[in-house]
């Protein structure tokens, strides 16, 4: 049977119950993070496309998935609401590349990928969520596909092919 696919855009966050297999997809991650969380026993999974590390308390009408510090607590809360058990939830992370390096020039936005990775890891750690796998950093964009049929995350990178983590 063909799997249903859900494609997430920038700052989107979704949690689903996978009664039939579902694919969660995020295309063209650069410095952004694709965060996957899942509870295989309860068959519940979520994905977020995180853009920046910190909301710096400036949350107005903005999407909760935009910042690592708001996305991580929100996605775990939604998992629990659907019936996931916290101690069983695992996470996988991909993304956080630095697309451009400018020798001799430093700017916050150039290294935002690395900050996204560390903030996402810290937030997951604070909630006691185990990170089962990750493919982060470097200078290449990634397209990711998470399948709830085997709970594996496919990572496609230009020039490096596909890996499964």
């Amino acid at each position: 049977m063909a799997e249903n696919s859900i494609v997430l855009g920038m700052a989107d966050l979704t949690v689903i119950r996978a009664t039939t297999p579902v694919k969660l997809i995020t295309l063209g991650l650069g410095s952004c993070i694709g965060l996957v969380v899942y509870d295989p026993n309860a068959k519940i999974a979520g994905m977020a496309h995180i853009m920046l590390p910190s909301s710096r308390g400036l949350m107005g009408s903005e999407k909760v998935g935009k910042f690592a510090d708001t996305a991580v607590p929100a996605i775990i809360e939604q998992m629990l609401k659907l019936g996931a058990v916290k101690s069983r939830i695992k996470a996988k992370i991909a993304g956080g590349a630095q697309m451009f390096s400018l020798p001799g020039m430093s700017a916050d936005f150039l290294t935002v990928g690395a900050k996204n990775v560390s903030e996402t890891r810290q937030r997951l750690g604070r909630l006691g969520i185990f990170i089962a796998a990750s493919d982060t950093g470097g200078n290449k964009g990634r397209t990711i596909e998470f399948s709830t049929s085997n709970w594996m995350l496919k990572v496609k990178t230009l020039g490096k092919g596909v890996s499964e983590i």
Binding site: G9, M10, A11, L27, G28, L29, G30, S31, C32, M51, L52, R56, L58, E62, K63, K66, A97, M99, F100, S101, L102, P103, G104, M105, A107, F109, L110, V112, N139, K140, G141, R142, T143, L158
Partner: protein
């Protein structure tokens, strides 16, 4: 920073004029480098949702070649010269043919050399753009070494989202298309110059343009 959504038509038009003057100079410089005629479109000042940058400029999954520079100084900004990968390759072939007198297909050139050629094209285009802006505004810039990337359009444009995302949900960009014409193949080679003002430099820009 100034609230982008509240910018009026006169202000957006004045910013567009910056793009016009910058691109005119960039086209002249590129024409000199390649000894070819360059066409340019009328620049657009665009307010783009940071969640839809990839879609706004084409197919988010399209592979592009991009050259990025950062300019520090009076009016702080970043600039990106972005081309479909195929156009970037044609541009490199054209430049190398111009310099060495023989045609070498891009597949036979080491990656470092194609990147270096692409970076040179981007550097000339973007620094000429900036020089013209400086003359107009009476500012000075210190320009970074160019950074080159080949990747999916949406991954590349994450850099714009990182610049504007912390302040809000809309980016103000000045977008122009340049194209090299009069090639033997009859095909034109296109590229976009996108000016990305720092959000907190917009007010200074408006003041220098005397529209605030």
């Amino acid at each position: 920073m100034s609230d982008i959504a509240s910018f009026n038509a006169i202000q957006l038009d004045a910013i567009k004029e910056v793009g016009n003057i910058g691109t005119g100079n960039a086209a002249t410089a590129l024409s000199g480098l390649l000894s070819r005629m360059i066409n340019m479109t009328v620049p657009k000042t665009e307010l783009v949702s940071i969640y839809e940058l990839g879609e706004h400029y084409g197919d988010p999954m399209q592979i592009v070649g991009a050259v990025f520079v950062r300019a520090l100084g009076g009016f702080q900004c970043s600039l990106i010269f972005i081309q479909n990968e195929e156009d970037a390759n044609l541009m490199v072939e054209l430049l190398l043919k111009q310099q060495f007198g023989t045609f070498i297909p891009v597949g036979e050139i080491p990656q470092e050399m194609t990147d270096s050629a692409l970076s040179e094209v981007g550097n000339i285009v973007l620094s000429s753009f900036l020089n013209a802006i400086n003359l107009l505004l009476g500012t000075q810039h210190q320009i970074s070494v160019p950074g080159v990337a080949h990747d999916m359009l949406s991954s590349i444009l994450d850099v714009v989202a990182s610049i504007y995302g912390q302040m809000g949900e809309t980016a103000l960009l000045v977008n122009t298309e340049l194209s090299v014409e009069g090639l033997e193949s009859g095909r034109k080679i296109s590229g976009h110059i996108i000016l990305i003002p720092d959000p907190d430099a917009l007010e200074l820009l408006l003041r220098k343009l005397k529209v605030i």
